[in-house]
Symmetry: C2
Subunit: 213 residues, 2 copies
Amino acid sequence: MRLADLSERSQVSIATIKYYLREGLLPPGRRVNATQAEYDESHLRRLRLVRAMVQVGRIPVATVREVLAQVDDDSLGPTIRLGAALWALPRATEPEQDDPAVITARQEVDRMLTRLGWTLAVEIGPLSPVYRELVASVASLNRLGYPLDADDLAPYARQMEHTAIHDLDRMERFPTAVEQVEAAVASAVLFEPVLLSLRRLAQEQEATRRFGL
Amino acid sequence: MRLADLSERSQVSIATIKYYLREGLLPPGRRVNATQAEYDESHLRRLRLVRAMVQVGRIPVATVREVLAQVDDDSLGPTIRLGAALWALPRATEPEQDDPAVITARQEVDRMLTRLGWTLAVEIGPLSPVYRELVASVASLNRLGYPLDADDLAPYARQMEHTAIHDLDRMERFPTAVEQVEAAVASAVLFEPVLLSLRRLAQEQEATRRFGL
DNA sequence: CCAGTGGGATAGTGGCACTATTCAATAGGA
DNA sequence: TCCTATTGAATAGTGCCACTATCCCACTGG
């Protein structure tokens, strides 16, 4: 497959593919000679993943580069690789340490985590971007006057435990490590809109049940 | 409260507040005289909501304006107002009609909805932006090689039914209609990062349980 | 009386994801 | 062989958008 074919099949313009190649989001093709390069299915798959992250996930190109570097790092075991890829994802605005809303939020998050027995999360929590993003989000809600405590968070967390089991079941169906991590990233990025849409539909449904049309 | 005070208490620069006033995201203050205006707590609350939508939710300013127009429309009953506000939120790329991935996605979504008995969603579904966003997301996953059928979607949807009940319980605690709709919008925008963070934490937790460290 | 304040108007900034152009070296069909 | 098309590199430009900066003027209040 040449560049033009890759562009054709992915519906991504040649200029944009060149841009991604330049930015290191797409590995270079196998150079057939000085003026031609050959691309294969893995390039197509990667290109679609990049598009998904950039367009659907609104992830900055620089972040996509970091995530993919983890996906392709053969020196990591599959589990670590998965963590590392998701590690690089969040769009977090880092919480300020001295903000009282942040301190409260952290306390409640920690209480929720210990109550659920998420020991790993508690130990590595403060280092994880995911944890920090959670704290920052809860703090935002605090500031807006919608406080969330451990009692509010716990049921949602338990529901997410169930979804996580589903998620990993789906992931483990893929044969190779790279494909599994790609699936995890795709799931993190693309499945989120699905979940959120379902939530809003459920809200509409529940509102109708309560208040009628 | 004068403009300077509003800026001080919200930590939003005067220039930005003026910008929001210009764009109609913030109602003008009560003019005390030709050169002074008085703002109250509702302005502060609204300003924080706008910031949350723009910064955390990454919602375009033009969309924020539309959403707030619904929030403030007294001619609507509270339920309709809630729906209308959430109606205006999504900013997804519309699915193309003839795309086979979209057709498959729509079939599976519809099957899932009927199975759950979400009759309202089925009837008004094709008109709802939320429904269309769901179809588009599932179609993206299809194209990427991660097909989702009704069997995959249903358990997630059932879980979201539970969260929706929690959501509306929290919303109904607020006294006035405007505050309730504001709470719903804040919940739609700000609670989403919380849910997603919880999901990723749960994934880390579950991955550790399965594969160890 | 005059520094400060609010609001309107207008232009500028910076980030970012592309997009267009040009160039030189071929490839490949007529 | 000729001629058009293609590739990759380099570089500059575009369009969007959320601010941000600057002026100006009317007026306030110590």
